[in-house]
Symmetry: C2
Amino acid sequence: MLSREECADLDRDDPLAYMRDRFILPEGVIYLDGNSLGPLPKAAVATLSHTVEQEWGQGLIRSWDDAGWFDLPQRLGDRLGRLIGAAPGQVVACDGTSINLYKTLRAALSLRPDRRTILAEAGSFPTDLYIIEGAAEGHRTRLLGRDGDTLDDLLDDDVAVVVLSHVDYRSGALLDMRELTHKAHRAGALVIWDLCHSAGVVPVELDACEVDFAVGCSYKYLNGGPGAPAFLYAAHRHHEASRHPLTGWWGHAAPFAFERDFRPQDGIRRFLTGTQPILGLKGVEAALQLYDDVDLAALRAKSRALGDSFIALVEQHPDCAALQLASPRDSAVRGSQVAFTFPHGYAVIRAMIEQGVIGDFREPGLMRFGLAPLYLRHTDLFDAVEIMADCLRRQVWTDPKYQTRAAVT
Amino acid sequence: MLSREECADLDRDDPLAYMRDRFILPEGVIYLDGNSLGPLPKAAVATLSHTVEQEWGQGLIRSWDDAGWFDLPQRLGDRLGRLIGAAPGQVVACDGTSINLYKTLRAALSLRPDRRTILAEAGSFPTDLYIIEGAAEGHRTRLLGRDGDTLDDLLDDDVAVVVLSHVDYRSGALLDMRELTHKAHRAGALVIWDLCHSAGVVPVELDACEVDFAVGCSYKYLNGGPGAPAFLYAAHRHHEASRHPLTGWWGHAAPFAFERDFRPQDGIRRFLTGTQPILGLKGVEAALQLYDDVDLAALRAKSRALGDSFIALVEQHPDCAALQLASPRDSAVRGSQVAFTFPHGYAVIRAMIEQGVIGDFREPGLMRFGLAPLYLRHTDLFDAVEIMADCLRRQVWTDPKYQTRAAVT
């Protein structure tokens, strides 16, 4: 049995404990939804206020140069690179994940013009599938996992590109990036990895795994702010030959020459399109600075430990006996989130939120909890499970007020 | 001769004079570049600080519902609709202008599957041409104005869509939206209007002119902030049949059902793609609120008067004799900007900026001045022209320090 005292001991020994104070965390809230929207870094308050009042307000148009706005996508891209194992010059922060997936997918397809099949996971975050549908342009899409089909079953010499999620958005299952990338490469296919649920919390080694392209968002574990710009990785070796159709002036070789025809830049900037959202990028910049003081191995170790604690706390509690673990038990193949299935999960999550424990719910019956190691404590998890157990004991699902579906969360 | 006293009289009689106080305008600056980046509305400071500290910081994920984040694109779209003559349900604020042009262009092409030609202006803002190039997908693009060709010369029954700028980004020339739209329609083509240099300052009547699609940005005359989200208009009659490939979850009929296949929403939301930048949208919201107190006819009248004053002030000044007007003299066919050509224009603009008069420069030899009626006074223009004249008198282009090209501006 894991007691609250033992949780407090774990917190005391936590080498990352000092990071919690870098965030604004509302009084009375235990926030287990940082995998949907990370909390506000204190540094972002000052950065954004400076950006608005000084850079925009006083600098006006001059800030494009003087405040370095124009280079933000690449500068932040290189900062992100350290977190996802990418050498400089291969990452840009820009647009949203969907737009970036569209660009990388079209770029990948342009590199395999004779192949007509795209492989994706049936269990992908749905917007990935929608974008693949939009970008397919005559290619056929086959879904891994739909009829139990694995990559081995579906990989053949017609497959142009495989789109995979590094961490499953529901279960938190972590895929083996190196093995799957090499498997695809052996069949002549390229791979795009979706890092939305791994960047900033799970070690990612894009260069070392010889990944072709990757996309991800910065408002989940990276804490960049609501709707903050996403990012895009393209390996150096693909810059010159790949083409995508979202050719805007920020990707032009001479963006201020106002030439009539498009000429792509040499490097990663060719993956930029139009003017980028500066406030959003500055939020990301403030959030990324937090990582300057973080040892990534310690971050991963704490993330795994939080997951292990949370599973133990739920499974040891008699009132939680009806919950079924829906995530890998082995932390080595689990991201930084843990999910349980329970038929009345929606009502339980609603009732927990009312008591300050914010998790979320995904059909079918999935109670999902993000365990972000930058600011959560083992004692938070203990207290959250006590509140969850209380909701279960009270059978909150019998109360109609917890059954009305809200629009979002 | 227009004297400074007469300018002060015009300012005294200005029915919009009260609006200037709604903006932060740096001490010692006369800002004639609001057509590139509008200044900071005072209301935006409070709105953005509230969004960051309260909505993000305290509300966290709950703000998607509680703070109305999720509906911002449509809510702001309807607000924008009033400024561009669009009934509710036809405009969304989202992404950037380039992405939105891509979406509307692909949508328009989907409505004219048997036609293979796109017409665009040779003098378009270049990114429009780059995006058209990217979106063309086997269509040919013919350029209006390249060899003196007019719309009458190039319109035939192979033209699927015509892309036009309402106000030319260099000269400020204002096109006749109604006449050109109807001309294209008579040939069976659709029209997309780029409103980047007209929205918020020139009357736009999209519905009344029976426009098909339009795009525009919100960080120029609309003062939404650096890189703020753009907007997109699609006429009701085209919602159901048109298709674009940037199909993300925000455009799905049931965005929270996590269905595997894409089903577009019924209305304008089908033109949304992924999660939108909330900070940027909130900046736009604060800026649009300013228009609640603005009579649009008075705004246009002041804009025309400012242009007339500026032209008179430059042309009456003996030291400005070498400048050639590059904008329409008739304010009825001029947007809210005035440009002059001068071989040493770049150095003059640089020297003027150093003295606090911020305009900008576009090749070839174009000194461009945005005359935004919400915050500029006739006396500002008088003082700006005095400084310009001083730079010309001093022949600043003989000083090497004004010849180095900066990266942006």
